[in-house]
Symmetry: C2
Subunit: 201 residues, 2 copies
Amino acid sequence: MSHLKGSIKKIDVALKLKWIQLDNITYIDSKGRERLWESASRTTKKGDTDGVDIIATVKKPDGKKYVVLILQYRPPVNNLVLEFPAGLVDGDEDVEKAAIRELKEETGYVANKVLLTSPSLPLECGMSDANAKICVVDLEETISQGQELEDSEDIEVYYLALDNLYNEIEDLRKKLNCLVAVQLYTFAMGLNFNNILNGNK
Amino acid sequence: MSHLKGSIKKIDVALKLKWIQLDNITYIDSKGRERLWESASRTTKKGDTDGVDIIATVKKPDGKKYVVLILQYRPPVNNLVLEFPAGLVDGDEDVEKAAIRELKEETGYVANKVLLTSPSLPLECGMSDANAKICVVDLEETISQGQELEDSEDIEVYYLALDNLYNEIEDLRKKLNCLVAVQLYTFAMGLNFNNILNGNK
């Protein structure tokens, strides 16, 4: 264990709403000092993971691979946001099952298996304990079977070319005047990083 | 504008602490219905961007490029987290200046210019309006000039090989039993995505 490790002494709930609560955390820092930190938390978490994001690729009739993305209005940022298909894990639901379920509901694609599941990744660990796992699926099916959205959901599906994802995201972002979720944007930066370093975005 | 767009009718502050507040948002969804959403927000935001993450590469004497990363204890997740160097933008500070300042403070590296700055990217738009821009810097300097940490900070610097980042992150994560921030993990997945799709992680 690194010398950096701190520990939590107590957590006082400052306010608990239906979906989110705000906590005052008293912790001991790596130098042994007692300190305070404010943090938000989802009230819905049952296991160790709040949600799952799905990186789904699909081969289209043109022979090229596309990444399946979704666009929806997000009230906290009052804007449309381009994101990986994603959702909350239902209670004790297996994360891979949640990934396959959410992908079907939001995009209509039925995945048979998950290629890779990440560990639980903090989304914003300076101010919340929210986290997600990332599941990668490579779809053989090229035809969406139709969304199964909840009444409160209104989601458009987009297909952007895997081999030009960064530029296609930038073009779509400007065209729609939308935001792009950080995990999608940095994934695309990774795909395109040699070009970014060489100044040929 | 997409038909998906909603709009905010009013925001009621449920609780405002020093750093974070919790809001009840009343919004009109894309189908014209009035709905409620709970959301957290940083009280420190002055412009349109909360923070900046820095993707910094440096060439070491072995001729290889490394990514400069930091490890620190994060109270909201009660764990050590491996992350890009990052920090909050101070008031009206220019984002590139904030990136260069935070990189110097946390890692000791002095960047002369920023190669690329992303738009503001939502970090967790299901439950907060928190966002960050990503700045990319390619360091010519190979020697760190020493951290300048605040008294409350305790940060270790790590160098992981750019051409094997995904596997080096996984090895370090298991060795330290730490968490990995989502934007770093998905960046590394992007760098390594052909191998992931082909099953050769």
